[in-house]
Symmetry: C2
Subunit: 376 residues, 2 copies
Amino acid sequence: MKTIPLILIGCGGVGCHLLQHIVSCRSLHSTQGLCLRVVGVADSKSLVVVEDLLNKGLDDSFLLELCQVKRGGESLSKLSHFGECRVFVHPESQGKILEIASQLGKRTGLVLVDCSASSDTIAVLKQGVDMGCCVVMANKKPLTSTMEDFEKLFTHPRRIRHESTVGAGLPAIASVNRIISSGDPVHRIIGSLSGTLGYVMSEVEDGKPLSQVVRAAKSLGYTEPDPRDDLGGMDVARKALILARILGRQISLDNIQIESLYPKEMGPDVMTVEDFLGHGLLLLDKDIQERVEKAASNGNVLRYVCVIEGPRCEVGVQELPKNSPLGRLRGSDNVLEIYTRCYSDQPLVIQGAGAGNDTTAAGVLADIVDVQDLFP
Amino acid sequence: MKTIPLILIGCGGVGCHLLQHIVSCRSLHSTQGLCLRVVGVADSKSLVVVEDLLNKGLDDSFLLELCQVKRGGESLSKLSHFGECRVFVHPESQGKILEIASQLGKRTGLVLVDCSASSDTIAVLKQGVDMGCCVVMANKKPLTSTMEDFEKLFTHPRRIRHESTVGAGLPAIASVNRIISSGDPVHRIIGSLSGTLGYVMSEVEDGKPLSQVVRAAKSLGYTEPDPRDDLGGMDVARKALILARILGRQISLDNIQIESLYPKEMGPDVMTVEDFLGHGLLLLDKDIQERVEKAASNGNVLRYVCVIEGPRCEVGVQELPKNSPLGRLRGSDNVLEIYTRCYSDQPLVIQGAGAGNDTTAAGVLADIVDVQDLFP
């Protein structure tokens, strides 16, 4: 039986689902000769660590109780009992993670799993890499910080996995990495990588006003609490940057041309969410409607996409053939079209749900299982 | 620098492209700290092995010359010079492969790469597994033989890769394996896994007679020399069986319901290829045309697919919604729709060229690179 010790950083949403997946996959992984040993779980305030670091993991019943506490919106420190484990509070918790990393990293191996959405983990992850740890991320921030941080994390590329940073659990990164290692040159990637913007663009295509569509998307729970977090394109830009960087482009967020669906005058520092949804959005309806009609007159549709081609890395609205994988996209699925030497006329297409805690956590778990050969 | 020694079995078509890819990826792999050392190459008649097995690989210039000989339709034994290597002829060659496997398998590791289309390799691969070798296959035969052979090859699942047995280089197997290891239960896989039959079904959808479409496909080089090898569905059935088996179904080819597009009375033992193409096919036009029209009257189209769902594993013509990834399929692309807990309403879709030596070889090379963590 091969044991993979891991520390989970960020145990709300995705992290919480990951713990549940780990527990429910116990017997499956055991048939594969695999045991995932969760030695620590951290949220932004606390870290819970098992007492016997070298031999034990946190109990499954404890992990499930922890999930329940987090689902209730509480901090880890609200747990009713801690049994055979110890609790460290911020900022002591970060030092403790590194202490464990140095203890286990080169001895039994250790995976640092980052399911947070914070930049605060970057320092710990980088030091973990130096200590021989594997790093699995759903968090986009560490990979979209400076090129220096990115290169540091990729010091040992085989020890890094980050499938769920692009398209949730969709096999996007794994597929691009396979293409790269087979020497098949990637000419162009174009993708709709925001479920929210995919939904918005296919709804306005049907003639609905943008304002109405965004309000509907918000009430369906498709958007962030402030829909401008989606409409601004920054989340898509981070995904585009990650794809561009694994293709070898030495660029940063600043180098990406990002088209926002709302003007600066309607930004969060100028206008409240209520004002934006109430009257700001209405002012944008006409322009989008005209663009939709112009595209339709060319037999095309509008999609909010990222395009990576040669030195070009752009994020914004593009007019695309109605009769293409991206043009046919409806609803909130993600789509990635990859053009290479082998897929030159017709792209390699990967399509499916690109959001959701369940799917994202499944991608993280597949990544953890995938580094098993690096463990003794 | 990590070195991966390998023996290539089968060096026509796909194998020939693989050798060219290996040579052209030398500098790429070197930047990844990787060196692929080709210690032997075999065709059905001969095996060429480097003299200094522990330290050297066959020269790149020699590998390229070897490709040229094979492209000319000649046997390996026709090579003009052998330099620092030795040649063994069948049946001595099989014993020699095993001798090398036992020498290198547990010492430096060895990958047996099967790019043949023969069942003759099964015995060698199985023994190689026992000797600690990794096995990478484009050859479907070893995985579609008995359940016993299949289980033997999967004694150490991490040492086996076979992406190119289904959908050529498309990331089909890798994606299904990721889904399995994340514990996301696969409810249903439905796929169009024959470029030939995908082309045929989308052309008859346009109202063209089957006979005309098959003849056109043959002249475009889309079919086997005898198109009945495609139309019979056995190739698709093998792919379906591989998918079903990695999902854990303990079945064999005999358990798969296969619909042939031609009746037994037009089989290769009854009718010549010329007779089949000349008049046999004409007798099939009316039936297919009627089925196409019936499907169209339901808003559907016909696709030749494999369906794996619960205990069911079928291969044949299905009526599918025009407005689905499979229904929208045109031309010779392969499409796989995977329905799981995470992808329940909308499937995970993987689409792209599913045939061609270049693509198939790229998939094999990605597989070889992917086992690197098992090497010292």
